[in-house]
């Protein structure tokens, strides 16, 4: 599949100039960290602002009639009630009720704007083209996507674009930045306040440099992005959610509005509605190791009696927490916060506790 040379975003040269350590991620050459290091970049983002290149994600424009209603046939969120200028987290489901990908859908007035995972672009674009009858599905290749995340994000972005200051969480606007039209959306993947800014590629470096020129803004790589989202309890597609996990198991039913839960009408509705009514056999939970050893993806979770009850799907060191943090699926009857479990790390049982997600309080601009 990935035999092609890795692709580069419009910011590639800037990453190298800034000392970014480049790695292959989903077929893209991306910075995993800069000289500041993952720990420093993580804290920078929690305390000030971090800037991430997320241009590898798929930006898609949907044009045509009745897009909202058509989207509701492939995703279980409400779109017909999504107002212009608003964004919504959602996911495509398969016929078995599993999650094909998670994504952000925005109502941009005369069109819809969609951002999908880099690793799932090849699936999602044809999926939308096939199922959104009469809708033009236009994948955008000539725009960068830059995320500015952290408590100082409003100051950093607001300096270049005053309109950004007036936005609230999950709002999206088109606004001028340094003479070009950009799309700003007040959301992100770190648990912090912040923006994702879609920028025409020929101005991407110039605007990114201007954002980084703010004293409270520094570049951050994929390493910090992962530890930030993990502490914030946000799912990573391919780790925590995939074709074999349902929204009920993944505790994502908040993204399914009441009407959709009741009416169904999306792929896998039979299973998902059954689980909504009766509960699922397993549940995605936070897991806090008691000791210092990080528990990573694939680590087995056992009950104190030694019975296998689940598996870690994401885990590592949480710089803000100051210790290891993890997420994983466990049997629902043993998924209550406070439940003691053991994690089998390199053959040894290490004590841990089920905890409520997120590990750090989300800091959104409501």
């Amino acid at each position: 599949m990935m035999t092609d040379a890795p692709k580069r975003t419009p910011l590639y040269d800037l990453h190298v100039e800034l000392g970014g350590k480049m790695v292959d991620f989903a077929g893209w050459e991306m910075p995993v960290q800069y000289p500041m290091g993952i720990m420093g970049e993580h804290k920078q983002c929690r305390e000030k602002a971090g800037l991430f290149d997320v241009s590898h994600m798929g930006q898609v424009i949907l044009k045509g009639a009745d897009i909202a209603a058509k989207l509701e046939t492939i995703a279980p969120s409400a779109f017909t009630t999504l107002k212009e200028g608003k964004a919504r987290y959602t996911f495509f489901t398969n016929d078995a009720g599993g999650i094909m990908d998670d994504l952000i859908v925005s109502n941009a007035g005369d069109h819809f704007f969609v951002v999908v995972n880099a690793s799932m672009r090849h699936q999602d674009i044809p999926h939308m083209a096939k199922h959104l009858d009469g809708v033009e599905v236009i994948e955008i290749f000539d725009r960068a996507l830059v995320a500015v995340q952290g408590p100082a994000a409003e100051a950093v972005v607001g300096d270049l674009c005053p309109a950004a200051r007036d936005m609230k969480f999950m709002e999206t606007i088109v606004a001028d930045i340094m003479g070009v039209e950009c799309r700003l959306s007040r959301l992100g993947y770190t648990g912090e306040d912040g923006y994702e800014i879609s920028i025409p590629e020929d101005k991407a470096v110039e605007i990114t440099r201007a954002l980084l020129a703010h004293e409270d803004c520094a570049p951050a790589g994929l390493g910090a992005r992962d530890s930030l989202r993990l502490e914030a309890g946000l799912c990573l597609y391919g780790n925590d959610i995939d074709n074999d996990t349902t929204p009920v198991e993944a505790a994502l039913t908040w993204a399914m509005q009441k009407r959709r839960r009741e009416e169904g009408g999306f792929p896998g509705a039979a299973r998902i509605q059954k689980e909504l009514a009766e509960g699922a056999a397993r549940k995605l939970v936070g897991i806090k190791p008691t000791g210092r050893a990080p528990a990573r993806q694939g680590v087995e979770v056992q009950s104190p009696e030694g019975e296998t009850i689940g598996m870690i799907t994401s885990g590592g060191f949480g710089p803000t927490v100051g210790g290891p943090v993890a997420m994983g699926y466990v049997a629902t009857e043993q998924a209550a916060p406070g439940q003691a479990v053991n994690l089998i790390i390199r053959g040894k049982a290490q004590p841990a506790e089920i905890v409520a997600l997120p590990f750090v309080t989300q800091n959104y601009k409501r």
């Binding site: 995993v32 960290q33 290091g37 993952i38 720990m39 390493g223 530890s227 210092r292 050893a293 990080p294 990573r296 590592g316 060191f317 710089p319 290891p324 390199r346």
Partner: protein, 121 residues
């Protein structure tokens, strides 16, 4: 007192029949910020190339492989509370083990400092 280096990026400083073992600064730099070090216990014996510990950085877990046969006579207790010392001073205070050598002849398979420098380029 002579210091030897392995291709697995360990250093080993020999004094008579005992030696101190750790990872090189080069290895620490490659691993990134270290958050955990799992060590064997005093009295554990091991063979050359056997896994004798794990170092976890924010990025990933990496095994430590024994550069020769031996027995653990001390595991640095400071690393449990302060694994980050492995980034700061891995060739000094952040040593990992003191060991008893089983087969001193195996030292001949290791590199000296110049050899190691050439090895890491």
């Amino acid at each position: 007192m002579t210091t030897y280096y392995s291709e697995e990026h360990e250093w080993i400083t020999v004094e008579g029949e005992t030696a101190t073992l750790g990872i090189t600064q080069h290895a620490a730099d490659q691993l990134g910020e270290i958050v955990f070090c799992e060590q064997k216990e005093v009295g554990d014996t091991f063979d050359k190339a056997e896994e004798i510990g794990v170092i976890e950085s924010v990025k990933a877990a990496s095994e430590i492989y024994a550069p020769l046969d031996g027995e653990v006579i001390e595991a640095n207790p400071a690393l449990e509370e302060n694994p980050g010392a492995l980034n700061e001073n891995p060739e000094g205070e952040a040593w990992i083990y003191k060991i008893k050598l089983t087969d001193a002849a195996q030292l001949e398979d290791l590199m000296d400092l110049d050899g190691y420098k050439a090895f890491i380029g």
